[in-house]
């Protein structure tokens, strides 16, 4: 009989479909796992609602659970229960190593453009002489920044 620990271990092996250096568990999208008579309930909270990777994540979780002999039941939350603050410390380090600036902490009040313009660290050279090029990037979770020291554009995980 499959155990909760085995499920967590298996889910930690599933890479984010768009940023494969980090796993679903690093990303903080798995809120809970419970097992009830062979049915594995996963409480899953989406990142960005328009992220095309969500369906892939869901089917990857179902396959992993089925491989363990469980009957998967993925519950998708439609609420404000995911924040980039839920990305683990290990996940942040993996992002940085892969050339992504990790997200900054969620601000207490509303986010203002001025907070995003300057002061972010370049994941390549470590300089903070960087600027916002585009709030939007190739996926819903990314902004584009540019480092004025090493002249390298890089991607920033948006704070949510």
């Amino acid at each position: 009989m499959v155990t909760v620990d085995q499920v967590w271990e298996a889910l930690a092996e599933i890479p984010d479909p768009e940023i494969p250096v980090i796993s679903l568990v690093d990303l903080g999208v798995v809120k809970g796992v419970t097992i009830d008579d062979g049915t594995v309930h996963v409480d899953f909270t989406p990142t960005f609602m328009g992220c095309p990777a969500l369906d892939t994540m869901r089917s990857a979780m179902e396959s992993k659970i089925a491989e363990l002999g469980g009957n998967p039941d993925i519950h998708v939350r439609l609420d404000d229960s995911w924040s980039t603050d839920d990305i683990t410390a290990e996940g942040r380090e993996k992002l940085r190593t892969a050339g992504f600036a990790p997200p900054t902490p969620r601000p207490a009040g509303r986010m203002e453009l001025v907070q995003l313009q300057h002061g972010f660290r370049c994941p390549y050279c470590g300089s903070t002489n960087t600027r916002l090029e585009n709030l939007f990037g190739p996926t819903p979770c990314r902004s584009i920044r540019y480092c004025d020291d090493c002249r390298q554009p890089f991607e920033q995980f948006k704070t949510l």
């Binding site: 509303r110 986010m111 585009n134 939007f136 990037g137 949510l160």
Partner: protein, 223 residues
């Protein structure tokens, strides 16, 4: 149909149709950054529509896809503002800013709702919309900075203003007027709102294109 479902469908239809309109800039925006921005905004809006349709679908015993694609054009509850096809940059920015400002007011009200499911989803959507608002506001700053920009923005806002009022119910409209007038530093025309329920002719064209793939496989293809 319950008032709640009516509300969910009007929100979802706005986001779906506007998402579709925004996606029309993919590949042809004035410069690459805006091509990326409008494509990404479109993706977010359609994601919000999907979540809203899912809540409505639970009540109606159907699916998000059926609600999005299997209704007739006249059954959509979208506001005419999002239906307009305006592939001209000043009007695109004016519509984007007016819609995001109205949407913020609407989301603030929903976040305070006693319906925890609706309030929770509104809070999630609002966090993503914050990026759309920052993008729209950046453009308003840019346009207000020059005489030509201001003139083009003013003309576009005046044209779209009755439509913008129509996004919100009577109760929320004064809030939109106050915010928009404060931001532009001028009074906006005293006009009747173009309400939901009467569709722009452009919606039928959009619908033809948007639903064509699904209609081509009525038995329900899997992709």
């Amino acid at each position: 149909m319950s008032d709640r479902t009516e509300l969910l469908l009007s929100l979802a239809d706005d986001e779906l149709i506007l998402g579709w309109r925004n996606s029309e800039w993919t590949g042809i925006a004035p410069f690459l950054e805006e091509d990326v921005a409008f494509s990404s905004i479109a993706q977010n809006e359609i994601g919000h529509a999907r979540a809203l349709y899912e809540l409505a679908a639970r009540e109606l015993g159907t699916t998000a896809d059926e609600l999005a694609f299997d209704r007739e054009p006249e059954e959509y509850r979208s506001a005419p503002l999002v239906e307009l096809r305006r592939l001209e940059w000043a009007r695109t920015i004016a519509r984007h800013w007016l819609y995001e400002t109205a949407d913020e007011i609407r989301l603030e009200a929903l976040k305070a709702s006693a319906d925890s499911e609706l309030a929770g989803l509104a809070a999630k959507i609002d966090r993503e919309e914050a990026y759309h608002r920052m993008h729209a506001e950046m453009w308003i700053d840019r346009l207000l900075a020059t005489d030509e920009g201001r003139a083009r923005l003013d003309e576009a806002v005046d044209e779209l203003w009755p439509y913008a009022l129509g996004v919100l119910n009577d109760e929320l409209r004064p809030g939109l007027r106050a915010r928009a007038e404060a931001r532009l530093g001028r009074a906006l025309p005293d006009v009747e709102a173009v309400p939901r329920g009467v569709h722009e002719a452009e919606l039928a064209e959009l619908w033809e294109e948007m639903t064509s793939v699904r209609r081509s496989a009525p038995a329900g293809a899997r992709w």
